[in-house]
């Protein structure tokens, strides 16, 4: 009853206050760092080299030749060199003015590859996370909302998917579909949606149990509306945290699978692929493996920091596999 009397209660209050303030001083700096890193990644992803879209010929015909064969969405090129162009004469060139991060075994500029690699990592991350999120949320809402055998069946499927260590399942799926970035995305999404489905379903269930929902139902408010007005706000916090941490995981997993040769295929400048190609030059040309190594770590770190501080901010109870790097 008189819990407010107890120093323990004070401590709790203090934790929410001054120690958080202390922490936020340290963390704000980390947060800022994370944002700077993510901004840099986005900039290099977008502006590393021009983005051109191939217009389907049907559309070209329809527009009466108004649309060109390709549409340039972004004409700038920040990357100093073409990431794919080989220059065997300049292979294994150490970092220099011409090649700020050196060249690889085929004489390609590592900085340029790194920048274009950011585009690959980020877009794979965004695509996989959005697909997982959409599928997971839809399944979670339907499952929690319908309940009964549908829920039972969905949850059993989730159980089965989770019976496999995530990365291994992704690895096997990617292996069977054949090594490619697209297949990695499919593989990661096949495993990834379950997390979202669980969280969303749980939230739907807890909302359904609340009194005001029963009351609203009695008053004739439709259930889909209830779900959209009450579930979505409840679930948005955990889902955002999960998605942020998931970005980190997907970037790492993509690099890991590519490192194993199951992801991006040469000459795609994917970070994991670049790292694996540098393994034979660790001593003689350290930059080939270590530059992408740092890039992977920094990107993953940024999303982890962001996810952490979002967790502190929004919902400290979310714990998930994304606590870690899933073995990568």
């Amino acid at each position: 009853m008189s819990a407010a009397d107890r120093p323990q209660a004070w401590r709790r209050r203090l934790d929410g206050t001054w120690s958080r303030r202390l922490r936020s001083i340290a963390e704000d700096r980390l947060d800022l760092l994370a944002w700077v890193i993510i901004a840099a990644l986005v900039v290099s992803a977008v502006f590393a080299k021009p983005i051109r879209l191939t217009v389907p010929s049907v559309l070209q015909t329809l527009s009466g030749g108004f649309l060109a064969e390709t549409v340039t969405l972004q004409p700038l090129q920040l990357a100093p060199h073409d990431p794919i162009d080989q220059n065997l004469a300049d292979r294994l060139h150490p970092p220099s003015r011409e090649y700020p991060l050196g060249t690889d075994q085929l004489g390609r500029d590592i900085l340029s590859r790194l920048m274009v690699g950011a585009r690959i990592s980020l877009s794979v991350g965004v695509v996989v996370v959005s697909i997982s999120l959409m599928i997971g949320t839809a399944v979670g809402v339907v499952s929690g909302y319908l309940g009964g055998w549908v829920d039972e069946a969905v949850m059993r499927i989730v159980d089965i998917v989770l019976a496999f260590p995530g990365l291994l399942l992704a690895l096997v799926v990617a292996g069977i579909l054949g090594p490619s970035l697209t297949n990695i995305m499919i593989a990661l999404a096949v495993v990834g949606w379950t997390q979202y489905a669980r969280i969303v379903r749980g939230s739907v269930l807890s909302v359904k149990q609340r009194d005001f929902v029963a009351a609203a139902k009695l008053m004739g408010v439709s259930e889909p509306r209830l779900v959209s007005t009450h579930v979505i706000p409840n679930v948005i916090g955990p889902v955002v945290i999960l998605a942020t941490l998931d970005m980190a995981y997907v970037i790492l997993a993509t690099a890991g699978l590519s490192f194993l040769g199951l992801g991006a295929q040469p000459p795609t400048p994917e970070w994991g692929t670049m790292l694996s190609q540098g393994r034979h030059h660790l001593l003689t040309a350290w930059w080939i493996a270590n530059v992408p190594g740092v890039a992977i770590m920094v990107a993953v770190l940024a999303f982890n920091i962001l996810g952490d501080s979002l967790r502190d901010l929004l919902d400290p109870r979310v714990a998930s596999r994304l606590e870690g790097k899933g073995g990568l």
């Binding site: 008189s2 009397d5 107890r6 120093p7 004070w10 401590r11």
Partner: protein, 350 residues
């Protein structure tokens, strides 16, 4: 230790907590004493600082901080004592029973183990080896621990835990609330303390158990001559058990004196309020919330009488002026700006 000094002497105790919203003055200059073999009650509403006062006495006020005042136990100032002295004091002089028995016993150790630990500390507070307490074989004396556990069973018997022999392997969650509080009492008794601080020991228990436990405390006081500092919000408990009572409000002692006198003849408006909202029919569990208004939030040093906003006698002076201590007859005293309200001799104002 000299006989003419009180067992526990708290003088102008101030305990603060630093928070984002400012400094919380949980205890603002409380002074009181506990004599050998005496039962003293501290009564007050939630947030009056009574628990913090009790915890400060045994130096568990963390994360709060004792900023001034002294607490002398058997003549030693515990506010400045080092870890070692504190351990000795806790192990061999002063014990505490907390309010909520569901959270005060460690859930992962057997009750008997937790009592045995207390026995072990009491035996030699200065020699505590981690590996011994972790029961790591070569570093731990198994027979000694077995002996301690047997004595723990005796103690369980002594505090009235039924069938203690069968409960030697029991964990806290296998005990009822009353049994857990008795176990806490056993942990306290294991140290053969001169002073037992009991912080709302019966609040979480149901009525019959409460009565039994209070009876037990009274017996211990009488049989062992152990002094008791009883923290409660329940004037009924005070009336039944205590020799003297201290009324605490917002970290300050409002009135103190012998129970007999104060219950019959309360002087301070706050004490009166407390008593008024305690008709005989009210169950003991009731909270002291019948006085209009709420306990202040204790943030900032404050000035004037903290009770002023709720006091029917309050005048402008009460809100801003100094609060004098007024001596009353029979060794009682009270803090109030208006001695006339206390029915006191103005000459006794300090």
């Amino acid at each position: 230790m000299t006989d003419d000094r009180p067992l526990l002497e708290v003088t102008d105790l101030q305990t603060h907590f630093e928070t984002d919203e400012g400094t919380v003055h949980a205890v603002k200059g409380a002074s009181f004493t506990v004599e050998q073999g005496e039962i003293v009650g501290i009564v007050g509403e939630s947030g009056s600082g009574k628990s913090v006062t009790a915890l400060s006495c045994i130096r568990l006020e963390e994360p709060g901080e004792i900023v001034s005042g002294s607490i002398r136990f058997r003549g030693t100032d515990v506010t400045t004592a080092d870890e070692r002295r504190l351990r000795r004091m806790r192990g061999q002089g002063m014990a505490m029973v907390f309010q909520d028995p569901t959270t005060t016993l460690n859930p992962v150790f057997r009750v008997s183990e937790q009592i045995a630990e207390a026995l072990k500390v009491h035996e030699d507070p200065d020699s505590q080896r981690l590996l011994d307490y972790l029961h790591v074989p070569p570093f731990s004396d198994r027979s000694d621990w077995a002996d301690k556990r047997r004595r723990a069973v005796d103690l369980m018997h002594e505090v009235g835990i039924p069938n203690p022999d069968e409960r030697v392997d029991a964990y806290p969650h296998e005990f009822s609330g009353g049994m857990r509080q008795r176990a806490m009492l056993a942990i306290a008794l294991a140290r053969e303390p001169d002073l037992l601080i009991a912080d709302e020991p019966t609040t979480a228990l149901d009525v019959t158990i409460q009565a039994q436990l209070l009876e037990r405390i009274r017996n211990l006081n009488q049989d062992l001559g152990m002094a008791v500092l009883l923290i409660t919000h329940d004037l009924g408990v005070i009336a039944e058990l205590c020799d003297r009572v201290i009324v605490l409000y917002d970290g300050e002692v409002m009135e103190r004196g012998s129970v007999d006198r104060m219950l019959i003849d309360p002087r301070h408006p706050y004490t009166r309020g407390l008593l008024e909202c305690l008709p005989q029919t009210t169950p003991r569990q009731s909270r002291l919330s019948s006085i209009d208004g709420e306990v202040p939030d204790q943030i900032g040093p404050g000035s004037g009488c903290p009770f002023a906003p709720r006091c029917e006698y309050a005048v402008e002076e009460c809100r801003t002026g100094e609060m004098p201590r007024v001596r009353l007859e029979d060794g009682r005293d009270a803090k109030c700006c208006r001695p006339e309200v206390l029915d006191a001799d103005p000459a006794e104002v300090e």
